[in-house]
Symmetry: C2
Subunit: 136 residues, 2 copies
Amino acid sequence: MPDDPTKKAIVQPFEDGEDLCCDVPHSRGADPTNAPQPEKLTVEKAQRMSEFLGFLADANRLRILSMLADQEMCVGDLAVTLGMNESAVSHQLRTLRAIRLVSFRKQGRHVFYRLQDHHVLTFYQAIFEHLDETTA
Amino acid sequence: MPDDPTKKAIVQPFEDGEDLCCDVPHSRGADPTNAPQPEKLTVEKAQRMSEFLGFLADANRLRILSMLADQEMCVGDLAVTLGMNESAVSHQLRTLRAIRLVSFRKQGRHVFYRLQDHHVLTFYQAIFEHLDETTA
DNA sequence: TTAATATATGAATGCCCGTTCATATGTTAA
DNA sequence: TTAACATATGAACGGGCATTCATATATTAA
C-alpha cells in the first residue's frame, strides 16, 4: 500500500512537505553537534525541581501540610485526624522537616509542628485550582 | 497568582482556636469522635493532587516540558537534545499525553509534540523561582 | 516489493519510597 | 523508682514507576 491516501493517518494542515526539522536523518548519539536545540533546563535544575515536587507528591504529606496550614498540631492528633499510624506521621514529618517545610516546638511529651514555609501554600492553591478547572 | 476571592481557599481558618489539643490523653484508633480536628483536605482530593504532582515530579518529564514550552518538537529530536533513549522519551510522552499536558500532530514519519496545557508553565515558573529563593 | 527510518508498546529489571513493626528515647505522674 | 504516654528511628516488606530491550507498527524511499 504505497502512497495510499486512504490511510487512517491523522492529517495535519501541511500537505506540503515543508518540515520544521529533520530534513536530514538523525544521527542520534553519534554527533552531538547536530542536536536541533540546546536544552533549556539543565539536568541539575530539573533534578532539584523534580525532587521538590516529589516531596509534595504524596497524599498524606499534602494532608499533613493542609492541617498545619491552619494551626500547629502535635503528632498524635495528626495521626488521629488523618487516620494514620503515628509512626507513619512521624516519618513524614521527618521528611517535611528535612526540606524545611515544617518546624516544631516541644512542649512536655508533645511536639507541635507548624508550617515553616508558607510559600508552599502558593503551589498548593495553584494546583488545587488547576485540578478544579481541568476536571470540571 | 492573583487573589481571586471567588476561589475558595484550600484551607479555611478555624472558627475557634481555643485549646490546641492534648489536655486529655489520646485514645487513638478507638473512638473517632474525639478526633481533635476534622480533616481539611479530603483523601480523594489529596490523592488527585499528589497524582498530578507525581506526574510533574520527574526530571526528564520536566526537561521535555521545558523544551516543548518553546516550540513543538519530534520524538527523535527530543531524545537527541536531552540525551535520552528514544523509547524512554516515547514512554514519557505517552504519560504526558494521558494527562493532557501535551498534544501532537503527525507529519510523515514524525510526530511533533507540543504543550497542550500552558497552565503548567505557571507551576513550572513558580517552583523554579521558589528554588532559586530557598537555595540562594 | 524490500529496506530504512520514526515512533510506539509490552515485558522485565531495578530502584525508590511509604508503610508497618519493633524498639529506643524522652517525658510526666504516681 | 516504675509505669504510662508521646515521639522518633531503623529494618524490612511491598508497590509503583522509569528505564532498557526487543519487537511491532507506520511511513518513506529505492
